[in-house]
Amino acid sequence: MTPFQILVSATPAFLHGLRVSMTVWLLACLFGTLLGIISGWLLYRVRRRSLIMRMAANLIPELLKSLPVLVLLIWCHYLLPFYIGWSIKPEVTAVVVFTLVVMIAVGEIVQSAIANLPRGEIEAGHAIGLSAIDVGRLIAMPLAFRAASPALILLYIDVLKLSTLASAIALEELLHVTDTVIAKNYVAVPAYTALAIVFIALILPLNWVAKTYAQRLGVMR
């Protein structure tokens, strides 16, 4: 069998890997973004508090930020079950770890988006007699989201690529499937090339949609 035939015959396995990768990625982005918005907002609120409170609030985010994701995955998958006494499925570990990764980054993005809100536009909301809640809801939030959207999209794309690290905990995602195909048939270069093509096919359109969207928003002109 030629390498091409091997890869074609492995298509079902690749599709399975694709499904797992996409599921983990989508769930992590969804939960991570929601939690990140909340944590970012809370961390922003803490900014003007005492040094001790700031340090306490930022301790865990800063620690998580400086840990390699691979280590985090391995700790959560092999160390944590040892202490809590029951095993965790790799899917669950991956979703949890990548949710944390997204949450921390979104928290940062949200904090800077709030800090850099355009004052004049916010004041214009107050100037027409809008209540403080409505200014937040109808003006500040849309503006913050606009400002944050390019960074968010970049983050999502990064996390999609980062998700291949989950092959280290035997999650049957794209890289793991590729490695399995290679182990059975010794077709390393063709298989990794196929993997690259899959990722390009995923990320290029994503990037294009994101750019078009950002241009429509006027964030990227």
């Binding site: 355009p118 004049g120 536009e121 004041e123 214009a124 909301g125 107050h126 100037a127 027409i128 007699g129 809008l130 209540s131 403080a132 409505d134 109808l138 003006i139 849309p142 503006l143 606009r146 928003l217 006027g218 002109r221």
Partner: protein
């Protein structure tokens, strides 16, 4: 004289102490359909005064009466949020920066107040926006994104957004900034005609005597946080009494203003 019920905004002895500037005992009246000018050099406190009228800066003394209520400021009592928003719906501040909301089109910016603040029905707010878009020569950019319109259009858009609330008074901070004299004049005329038609009073802050002359009937000259000269605009600009007024006119080219006296260079340089 106008009967008292024509007063839209009366301010007396308004004072505010801030770290960088003290606004000292300012008194002014705005009558229905009238434009009041506040002229002064940069840093004189004219913008601060305007922001005080919209209660963005809380006065520490004096009183202010609108058609709805009388405020007395003693520097201690805080202002209830409801009273604050109610005041700002009647006395709307338009800043000198382009502050149109970029997540909305120009028309949506204008309809925002009627819909979200006054809770008018969609067709009513649409009709108000239509009227203002035409009156302020903006109909051709109604559907545009706000960052695609010109500086003057953005400024008029911000004015339209304020006028859509049908306020008693509109507070305009340097409405001519960034426009050449011809466009500035045309824009000022559009804004004033629209205000007059609606009976809206205007307070116009500017350092530019030609804007003040064109737009206003009464002028107050502000210097170092206090009003140094007040009166009918033509009188103030033709016979400036205070050195600050004279310096502003001289710097702008006094001969332009009718029979304005020739001001010696010493006066201009002295202040």
């Amino acid at each position: 004289m106008n009967p008292p019920n024509d007063f839209l905004l009366r301010v007396s002895g308004l004072t505010a102490r801030m770290p960088y500037l003290t606004i000292r005992s300012v008194s002014l009246d705005v009558v229905r359909g009238q434009a009041v000018g506040i002229m002064g050099a940069s840093g004189s406190g004219k913008s601060t005064l305007l922001r005080m009228l919209a209660l963005f800066i809380k006065p520490t003394g004096g009183w202010m009466s609108t058609r709805e209520r009388v405020w007395e400021f003693d520097g201690s009592s805080s202002i209830a949020p409801n009273a604050l928003t109610a005041h700002r719906r009647r006395v709307v501040y338009v800043s000198q920066a382009n502050t149109l909301w970029p997540h909305l089109t120009l028309r949506e910016n204008i309809e925002f107040g009627p819909r979200r603040v006054l809770h008018l029905r969609h067709d009513e707010s649409h009709a108000r926006a239509d009227m203002l878009l035409h009156a302020l020569d903006l109909h051709h950019v109604a559907a545009s994104r706000t960052w695609t319109v010109s500086g003057g259009e953005a400024r008029r858009g911000a004015v339209a957004r304020a006028l859509a609330l049908e306020p008693d008074v509109i507070l305009l901070d340097e409405p001519e900034t960034g426009l050449d004299p011809i466009r500035a004049a045309r824009q000022m005329d559009l804004i004033l005609t629209t205000c007059e038609r609606a009976g809206t009073g205007a307070v116009i802050v500017s350092h530019n005597p030609s804007t003040i002359l064109r737009a206003t009937t009464v002028t107050h000259v502000v210097h170092a946080g206090g009003v140094v000269e007040s009166g009918p605009t033509k009188t103030v600009l033709n016979c400036p009494g205070h050195p600050e007024t004279q310096a502003l006119l001289a710097a702008a080219g006094a001969g332009v203003f009718g029979s304005a006296p020739v001001i010696r260079k010493e006066t201009y340089e002295a202040s």
